[in-house]
């Protein structure tokens, strides 16, 4: 009897290792690991992980420039405010496919959901790095209820949404471990989870903008607007569509082996479809931006130095990429759309950094000097970005995300 159990355990172990090493032996697998990307990644991690350890052992002051006037820096500006709109990918594409029935995007749905899930997971990791006492992360849920706080809402919704996205992505995980029964349950909740995702995303994407409503005297009037929630929400829609284009382009370029022909063959067509949606959303956002300036009659500020930077943002990083996307869609050129999407994603990150860092405290003396982050803060961000990419790649290589598992075709 004990013999039988040990055979079973051995069997399980070998199956498990088979999954982890993608059917290769240890020596074969470790040989595949020596790539230029991995060498650079190892270099970054070898400096970055000790830096993160220093932050947790000796406090935030050892790593960041955070001060009493500048409580937030790169961790939140880049990781939370910059990362969350790009992670709207899961909800936007999920809604288009499951609710509105755009079945043509099928090969992209799981990729979009994974982009969203990992994006949120890492937004939380950036937050944990930045919180003074990260081990109290659950306090808004169980200890103190700041119901009047926008951040309270963000905390609840991001936590709930992270769970929802894990459930949405569980289909792929369950296919990977060849589950049948649990898999069926997972497919049954998809519509409910997608609708939950829409609600939670609408609210917390806009809530991230609403957070800055409490700082009217500190945020430059060109970026401060009663429409901040609307601006954050509407820009997250095109951020999501463009981010899916960016991620799928990178996969088609660098991770072809993980994708099947259904994915690669349909990619140009899907890219054009996403691009079409993105340029409509971008023009809506651009007009909203102008309405925001008009609402407070802030036109006169456009000639100031910050005004010129504002024009660079909305003309150079919203209108111009929107025009490029439109040109690409009109001429059915997936390549041009891809270029436009990369550009638009850059514009979104720029906008969030402007709101949370560059235009925040603009009226303090030597402001621009204060916002330059120290190298340690940058290396922590680089480390988290590297780990993000590595986990993303690890999942794509193993789970059926950009390819279909033949055993599960009947369910799709």
């Amino acid at each position: 009897m004990s013999n039988g159990t040990s055979i079973k355990t051995d069997n399980f172990r070998s199956k498990f290792m088979d999954k982890l090493l993608m059917g290769m032996s240890w020596s074969e697998y470790s040989k595949t690991l020596i790539t230029p990307f991995n060498i650079v990644a190892a270099l970054i991690l070898s400096i970055g992980i000790p830096t993160i350890a220093i932050r947790f052992m000796y406090g935030l002051a050892t790593v960041t420039h955070a001060s009493n006037e500048y409580p937030w820096g790169l961790f939140l500006g880049w990781g939370l405010f910059g990362g969350v709109p790009l992670s709207a990918a899961g909800f936007v594409v999920g809604t288009a496919y499951y609710i509105f029935g755009f079945k043509g995007f099928k090969p992209l749905v799981r990729l979009a959901i994974l982009t969203g899930f990992l994006g949120y997971l890492f937004a939380c990791l950036y937050l944990l790095t930045d919180l003074g006492r990260p081990w109290r992360i659950y306090y808004p849920m169980f200890i103190g209820f700041g119901t009047a706080s926008v951040l309270f809402l963000v905390a609840w919704h991001v936590a709930t949404y992270l769970t929802v996205q894990l459930l949405e992505f569980s289909e792929a995980i369950l296919e990977w471990v060849k589950s049948r029964r649990v898999y069926k349950w997972a497919t049954m909740i998809v519509i409910g989870m997608t609708i939950a995702g829409i609600i939670l995303s609408t609210l917390h994407q806009s809530a991230l903008g609403a957070m800055f409503l409490l700082a009217p005297g500190k945020l430059h009037p060109l970026w401060y607007s009663p429409f901040l929630p609307h601006l954050f929400l509407s820009s997250s829609i095109y951020a999501a569509l463009c981010m899916v284009i960016v991620v799928s382009t990178l996969i088609a370029r660098f991770l072809r082996g993980a994708a099947d022909n259904n994915f690669l063959g349909n990619l140009d067509r899907m890219t054009l479809g996403l691009g079409k949606g993105a340029c409509v959303a971008m023009f809506v956002y651009f007009v909203l931006k102008l309405v925001g300036v008009a609402h407070d009659d802030n036109w006169y500020l456009l000639s100031s130095p910050y005004g010129k930077w504002f024009l660079v943002e909305i003309l150079g990083f919203v209108l111009l990429p929107a025009a490029i996307l439109t040109y690409g869609v009109k001429n059915s050129s997936a390549g041009v759309v891809r270029f436009g999407a990369f550009y638009a994603v850059l514009g979104i990150i720029m906008n969030r950094m402007n709101v949370s860092i560059i235009a925040f405290n603009w009226n303090l003396p030597e402001h621009l000097h204060h916002i330059i982050p120290p190298w340690r803060e940058v290396i922590v961000v680089l480390t988290l970005v590297t780990i993000h990419i590595m986990i993303f790649r690890w999942i794509l290589n193993r789970m059926p995300v950009v390819r279909e598992d033949p055993e599960y075709m009947e369910y799709h």
Binding site: N68, F100, P140, A148, I198, L203
Partner: protein
Amino acid sequence: MDGTVKKPETENISEEKENTCEISRRGFLAGSATAAGALLLGSCEHAYASMEFSNSKDRYGCLTDLTACVGCRSCEKACNEANNLPTPDVSFDDASVFKEKRRPTSKAYTVVNQYKNPKDESKPIYRKIQCNHCNEPGCASACPVHAYTKTKEGAVLYDADKCFGCRYCMVACPFYVPAYDYESALEPKIAKCILCYDRIKTGGIPACAEACPGGAITFGKRNELINIARKKIVEKPDRYIDHIYGEQEAGGTSWIYISGVPFEQLDFPTNLTKRPLIEETKGFLGAVPVVLTVWPAFFGMVYAALQHREGPHKGQKNEKEEEKK
């Protein structure tokens, strides 16, 4: 909280504000603000930190007469002792600290800065900075874990046992008051003046006000302080400018100021509105229940309608639509 007092007040405010909040109030005030709901919704029902006692006569405050301050820093010293703060590197009678503009830190709840007097260069102006104890504190509106409390005595208190260190209060405070000890890895916390709450609760006065030799800090009921300030301005129009800072700024503060020179020359934030900061986010918070209730119905219906239309030829129609695109 007494429901009968609360309702008329919130309704008045919502009428002044934008439609988003109004719609939500009309539709959902009745049923949606149950305790469990409020957790996820974050309704504007609970938005006000001090609603019950906004006009309370018992509310205390301080009046700083900037024309009377001589920059002796006795208040800094008294504050340091009363709150058991670490001894500073530079002693309290060393005037060299005036070379730069300081701000409250985790080791000093109050600091005094020196400014040039445009009227008389030989008599510099001194400005004491500490928490102003807003009537509707921005820090309390920002805090997701309810670590801030506006007491009925007027003091705004902070509870380090609840705080998880997000520092949103520091972002929200229009006066740049809350400070954080970034050096601490295990027990970092916010530091700020608490209006010597333990003293005033038992009939005492704040340590700084007690220590001030020049009579620059007057402690008392806020209503009375405003009357005193007004009287001073009327009696000596040459000495004071006609403005009580803190009477209305950011919805009013417990700590108010009168000055001989315009407040912007002394680095007081002068770009603040008369509205409490919570007013800025109330419209958004009010719209939350609408989204939570309307969205599932709307998207559920869209899904059901599309499924229904697809009927037996499930999938085909949409593929055609896709091709047209």
